[in-house]
């Protein structure tokens, strides 16, 4: 055991040696990023070559299988050829974008975010049991083979889980609407009227909440926490914007705002009704939705009528005034 530990330490000191070499040859500005990149390069190199190294945790190997682009970006720089000839990976998408100075490894940035997304998606199945809490995230992490301590990665805890879910639902809705739009363009489906389209879109989106409807009030309260409001408002506004876009709205005047405001109101109120609805398959919710959409449409029509009527009334009054002036002889024009 001690001999194994000592040999491992020897390998690690060699890796340290490798990075010390890079330290003396790299320009200072790229020092930080490249040094880490080469550390990983040395890690991959020694792992692939010698059997006496510590096998990376299964998760790393999982990544190496899944993400061919990570770990190889720095090979594309000119320094790589000098120091590590033995392991040139094929790299179809060289990812040389360095993230901000917070120090995340460039080639792992996508992997870390993707890993977080995967943990949160896995955590969703534990939500009915644990609610929207850090416990659900910990349980989700465990199904992926990670320790429950990795739930500490999420600074916002349960808020991260809810926002991830909302984002996921919005993406799904956009895909469905885009697909239907394609079908209409190809002529395989009929184009719906605006009111019907809105109803269909809102119903599809709300049906995605059905598996979590028991705990949804908790999620809504999390979304309303002050530090979560900017994010949740952003999700809501993109949702409403997408629905109107696929409904065919290309307006550039005031109606752009009024339409989105109206749909936001419809969506939020219908969501609230749905949460306390106990009818089979949420029939009452859809009836409520129908009524609200009809109200909005009526309001739009009424607004147009009021404007037309107003114009007519104004013209009538003007005519009456001219006639009166003629009769009384005030009008000078003869």
């Amino acid at each position: 055991m001690a001999a194994l530990i000592r040999s491992l330490r020897a390998v690690r000191s060699l890796r340290g040696l490798g990075s010390a070499v890079v330290a003396t040859t790299c320009p200072a500005s790229l020092y930080g990023g490249l040094r880490r990149g080469f550390h990983r390069a040395a890690l991959l190199a020694s792992d692939s070559k010698s059997d006496q190294t510590v096998p990376p945790p299964s998760h790393h190997e999982h990544y190496q299988a899944q993400e061919p682009r990570q770990g190889s970006s720095t090979f594309s720089t000119e320094q790589a050829s000098a120091s590590d000839p033995g392991t040139q990976h094929e790299d179809p998408w060289p990812n040389t974008s360095y993230q901000d100075q917070s120090g995340e490894q460039a080639e792992d940035y996508e992997t870390e975010d993707q890993l977080q997304a995967r943990i949160l998606t896995a955590a969703l199945e534990f939500v009915p049991q644990h609610g929207w809490t850090v416990e659900a995230i910990a349980a989700g992490a465990e199904t992926l083979g990670l320790s429950a301590a990795s739930a500490g990665m999420f600074d916002n805890g349960a808020g991260d889980l809810v926002l991830h879910f909302v984002g996921q639902c919005n993406v799904q809705l956009t895909e469905i609407l885009a697909e239907e739009h394609n079908q209409v363009q190809l002529g395989q489906a009929e184009k719906k009227k605006t009111a019907d389209f809105l109803r269909h879109a809102v119903e599809t989106r709300l049906r995605m909440l059905v598996p979590y409807i028991d705990t949804w009030p908790q999620a809504m309260s999390l979304l309303l926490l002050p530090h979560n409001i900017p994010e949740s408002l952003k999700h809501l506004s993109t949702l409403v914007d997408d629905i109107w876009y696929y409904a065919g709205d290309r307006s550039t005047d005031m109606s752009w705002y009024t339409r989105r405001a109206a749909l936001t109101g419809i969506y939020n109120t219908t969501e609230l009704v749905m949460v306390q609805d106990s009818s089979p398959d949420f029939e009452e919710t859809w009836v409520f939705l129908d009524n609200r959409i009809r109200d909005v449409v009526n309001m739009a029509n009424t607004a147009k009528q009021v404007q037309a009527t107003g114009e007519a009334v104004v013209q009538g009054l003007m005519g009456a005034a001219v006639t009166l002036k003629n009769i009384t002889g005030v009008n000078q024009r003869r």
Binding site: R12, H39, P57, E112, A149, S150, A151
Partner: protein, 337 residues
């Protein structure tokens, strides 16, 4: 004249050692790593590094407070320091930090937010402060979960009863803490404290060196080292050992004194450290030198950003740090992904 002679004699001695070391490195690289085409230039830079590091002493030297000592000696001297302060360690902590160290340790636990069932390795845990807090925290979370579960089962529907027949309800698991320290005296004091506090289950005491932990790979969910890593001779090795013993997804957390950024606070802090603390050490524990070492070793420890880079070098991801008390203390956290 004689001074010149002794100097050249020392330098000759150190030169003789260098070729031997180069041969060792060459052999190691031949066995383990890829062939380095830069070849000789690598070893030349390493040799020059050795030359400027070793100077007049034979072998690598490191810092022990503001002194410079050979590496081999540092571990021994640190051991002696903690051996002598062990009995009065907790009292001195309270006196020096005016009790604030308890808040620091509580912050560490709150940041960790451990779920029940996790395994903690408390390295340099000494008297066991972190482990006691960990067990208390997870136990209260566990009780909360059990209570919640009991409340949810108050009026089970017949479907739930039928579903519950097969599985005997998975209870949230018990958490365990292992306190590892190189110093037997500190562990002894810790064990006595555990007995008085009445903590009997879920706690183990292990003697071990942070640079060479006596555990297998992938054992622990959380690794903490509170106010211990600045005493380690090779910090990188300690970090690598931490990476080794953590499970995938495991968390590394380090609570340590760090650099104060605010200049006014920094001056007050320096004055307090160098004037008050050794005096307190002499009065309460009868040991001026150990507490002089303490405040000096704090000054020698790298600052927040440098340490964060060291942790990333070791292979941890999502490394972040939080300053407490204006930078007097910093909590660094990283994940093994």
């Amino acid at each position: 004249m004689t001074l010149g002679l002794t100097l050249t004699a020392n330098m000759a001695a150190s030169f003789k050692e260098l070729p031997r070391r180069i041969v060792q490195i060459r052999n190691r690289s031949a066995r383990f790593g890829p062939r380095n085409p830069l070849g000789n230039s690598t070893f030349r830079t390493e040799v020059s590094a050795y030359r400027c590091c070793s100077g007049a002493a034979a072998g690598r030297s490191t810092h022990f407070g503001f002194e410079s000592v050979p590496e081999g000696e540092k571990a021994e001297r640190v051991y002696k320091v903690f051996e002598s302060v062990a009995q009065k360690y907790d009292v001195m902590n309270d006196a020096m930090s005016l009790g604030i160290h308890r808040l620091w340790k509580d912050s560490l636990l709150r940041l960790m937010n451990p779920q029940p069932g996790l395994k903690l390795l408390d390295t340099a845990g000494g008297t066991g402060d972190i482990s006691f807090r960990f067990l208390e925290y997870t136990r209260s979370v566990r009780e909360g979960q059990l209570r919640h579960r009991a409340r949810a089962n108050q009026t089970p529907s017949w479907q739930e009863i039928a579903a519950g027949y097969g599985s005997e309800g998975e209870e949230p698991a018990e958490s365990r803490a292992v306190v590892c320290d190189i110093n037997k005296e500190m562990l002894k004091v810790g064990k006595e404290r555990a007995e008085t506090a009445g903590i009997t289950t879920g706690l183990s005491w292990v003697v071990g060196d942070a640079e060479e932990l006596p555990f297998n790979d992938d054992q622990f969910d959380v690794y903490t080292i509170a106010f211990g890593i600045r005493n380690v001779t090779h910090i990188e090795q300690a970090l690598q050992e931490a990476l080794r013993v953590l499970k995938p997804g495991g968390r590394f957390m380090c609570l340590e004194f760090s650099k104060v950024s605010n200049p006014l606070l920094s001056r007050l802090y320096d004055a307090y450290s160098f004037q008050m603390i050794p005096v307190l050490g002499e009065v309460i524990a009868g040991d001026w030198k150990s507490y002089q070492y303490l405040v000096e070793s704090i000054r020698r420890f790298p600052d927040q950003e440098t340490f964060k880079e060291m942790i990333e070098e070791a292979g941890f991801f999502r490394v972040q740090y939080v300053n407490l008390t204006g930078g007097v203390v910093a909590i660094h956290s990283g994940f093994k992904l």
